[in-house]
Symmetry: C2
């Protein structure tokens, strides 16, 4: 019997708790969170704000009572303040609604840190004004929705996945929205020409409601108590009822660092492929850890629910089985991600051409790419829609390096397919005649993916 | 400059013609077909009958005039009657509407046989009655639709892909339909428990309009001039206004056989991976050829438009480049296929468990399988739907052998993904943590595919 203490209540933590209890029901499993609820889908919050999901209650996957039935003890409102590896102890501050709280020491046999990430907060004057929001915890989602329903206009700082999802919600609710993005393109997880397609789609669909301010940044927020607007580096003065900061997230790694746990070059907790940190009996999983990129074999940071769940499962197994020399490995990720703006999906895996070119600087890789715009089904099917697929490969070896697909058609299906090709280091020649399922209602006789592969082959053969 | 003669006007033939002309515009390219139109999507015909596509004209991809512009000469109504390899000549019969016709000899430098397949016609008494249809050529589709619109009831002989697609059309048009299937399950391309799920769905949705007669077969058709009904082996007497025979197809290989071209054990023309037959300067592609199964490395027969198009492309290149020692290889297929019945999709790739067990008899393979029924998106998304995924692997090596997915949710996306895993011989352990894209609107944090892989791993580790 071991006592397994897990810190973090969103994705990786609850997954670890559930898995480890299933693997060995004799263990004592305790799950601590600083929030006042537990086990909810953070990725679902934009869909609650959009109104796709009627209530935030839908996002709660399991309650403390559900865990109790499984024999897992949940502790809400417990903020971890210190990790003491030598004493195998963690210190919590239990804060109560009345402002009181006390210090609590908890001993562990195995400690799993699933302490997640927090929104990146740029240094902007007056950033603490009311009606400036981040979207991280469930409470944030609830507050953004409440304010949105009373607002006529909004500023979104950032142009990535969360920004686009919030944008859809705001457009749906009739708000005038200004996106302020530091880069030259929104969605910089894609190559510039793909990002441009995404932006063009948004402008074409909702140009009357959406303004883009690119290559600029907010220097100061206007307002005394409440947010009233913002001033940008280029001197633009913007007024709006609310602002959402969606400038990415950073790992919660301070406590770990203070405890002597090794932090990687990405700023996140470093683990091996068993999810062990450098300190015995301390493990980590989810948004607080850095990942191994399966293409470059270099560390990368990706805060995503699916990775958190997979790692939670792995660590839940390994804390039990490792002493027998049995363990499950989590070898790394491809940086796969998807989202949509109304009917327009955008999906990516592996390296973009931009990233492949950076990667090429210190390797022998010679990135080449092919871009194809084609129908996602047989062209004569009335519901066929256009998608644009980009494939990136290494001219030298022919190995695929990455793929992006966007469009009103089924883009994500294509990227799903490339993930297993990348995992297997398939070359363009091997990928070329892939026996994809075909029927006019599902794809075209030669799938856009394969057309792109043909184009890559032409370049390789040159 | 070479003269390339291509016989066959549906998928592989037109694709070969277009590709070979593009690769070397100096060549003389002639395309012959016995039909009175050319280059149409045979796979699209059920969608024309269903009414998804307003006109059969939509199915015509390119007209003889389109080919002419590309410098390709098209000859309609030319039925090939003989191949004379020693003289590098083919003989055609040109039949005209008035019944007349003449014999025509055509010389070639390279001959490409894309002569397709024909419906399998079971030996049934009175099979030539009016209103008994096959669905093979465009004309057939037009006639079936015409008759359907005047009919109240129909019998479909067979329970495979085409049968299910015709069934949907008939149900949509208000017909009472009886399916007569020789096997114990419809859709025998799937494992029995998956076929049962498909049949249950059809019964649940349209049980009032659809009857299944399983494990039985039609022995005799009733009628004098026109079809009136049928009598089955088990003594069932059925009455209906029309009948469609959808009992599969067989390759058109007679002419090739007579000319000394090698026919494989499947009854289709045997080629190497360059699409060459055993006779110099004679090539073959599409439904008339047999394929190499990438899993068993044994010949298999699959008459599918996507394969025909891919092979047409390959042969179109190779007839030009092979003499330089450059060629493209078509190494084989996985038997991937997909269709749907209304919103319910059914998709498969690689070996079913049934086929894997047959394969295991002469190999060391130990087939194991895992079945998972799960939502295709985050469960809290209002449009998430259920899918059932089955994965098959070899317990000994861990290599994946095949996958099936069915359901009202996005099943085909999952099978697409498995095709590249099978192509790369990925093992369950490698597939387990695949970095699939995730967002609540597109998948679940742990995709059904991965849940099935986890289940397989448990069996492998036992």
């Amino acid at each position: 019997m071991k006592k397994i203490v897990i810190i973090g209540g969103c994705a990786a933590g609850p997954k670890t708790a559930a898995k480890t209890k299933r693997v060995n029901p004799d263990n004592k499993v305790e799950l601590y969170t600083m929030e006042n609820m537990i086990s909810y889908s953070a990725c679902g919050m934009p869909y609650y704000i959009k109104g796709t999901i009627p209530s935030y209650q839908n996002l709660i996957i399991r309650t403390p009572e559900d865990f109790k039935k499984q024999g897992i003890d949940v502790f809400l409102n417990h903020k971890c303040t210190q990790i003491l590896p030598d004493e195998k102890t963690v210190v919590f501050n239990t804060f109560k609604e009345d402002g009181s709280g006390e210090t609590k020491r908890v001993e562990y046999d195995e400690l799993v840190l699933c302490v997640g990430s927090k929104p990146y907060t740029p240094k902007i004057k007056n950033i603490n004004l009311e009606n400036i929001f981040h979207l991280k915890m469930l409470d944030d989602g609830i507050k953004i929705k409440e304010k949105m329903e009373k607002s006529k206009s909004a500023i979104i700082l950032g142009g990535g996945y969360i920004a686009i999802e919030i944008l859809e919600a705001f457009v749906k609710n009739g708000l005038q929205v200004t996106i302020v993005e530091r880069n030259k393109e929104i969605m910089s997880q894609f190559d510039p020409e793909i990002s441009a397609i995404i932006k063009d789609y948004i402008i074409k669909r909702d140009g009357k409601q959406v303004d883009f301010i690119m290559d600029d940044e907010i220097m100061e927020f206007i307002g005394t108590k409440e947010f009233e607007g913002a001033v940008t580096r280029n001197g633009r003065i913007l007024h709006a009822d609310m602002c959402v900061i969606a400038a990415g997230v950073v790992p919660n790694a301070e406590l770990a660092r203070e405890a002597g746990i090794e932090i990687g070059i990405t700023g996140a907790i470093k683990t091996d492929n068993r999810m062990r940190t450098n300190i015995p009996h301390i493990w980590a999983a989810g948004d607080c850890t850095e990942e191994n990129c399966l293409i470059t074999k270099k560390p990368m940071y990706a805060a995503l629910g699916t990775i958190a769940n997979k790692q939670g499962r792995v660590v839940g197994i390994n804390v039990n089985t490792e002493e027998k020399g049995v363990f499950e490995a989590f070898d790394g990720i491809l940086g796969s991600a998807v989202t949509s703006y109304f009917d327009f999906s955008m999906s990516t895996t592996g390296l973009t051409e931009t990233k492949a070119k950076i990667y090429a600087k210190n390797t022998n890789v010679e990135p080449i790419s092919a871009l194809v715009t084609k129908r996602d089904k047989a062209g004569y099917m009335p519901d066929s829609k256009s998608i644009t697929v980009k494939l990136i490969a290494d001219k030298r070896t022919g190995e695929l390096l990455g793929a992006q697909a966007v469009g009103a058609g089924d883009a994500d299906k294509r990227i799903y397919t490339v993930t297993s090709a990348l995992k297997a280091n398939l070359t363009v020649n091997e990928f070329l005649h892939l026996d994809l399922t075909y029927s006019p209602a599902f794809s075209s006789t030669i799938d856009p993916l394969l057309t792109a592969a043909y184009k890559l082959k032409e370049q390789i053969d040159k």
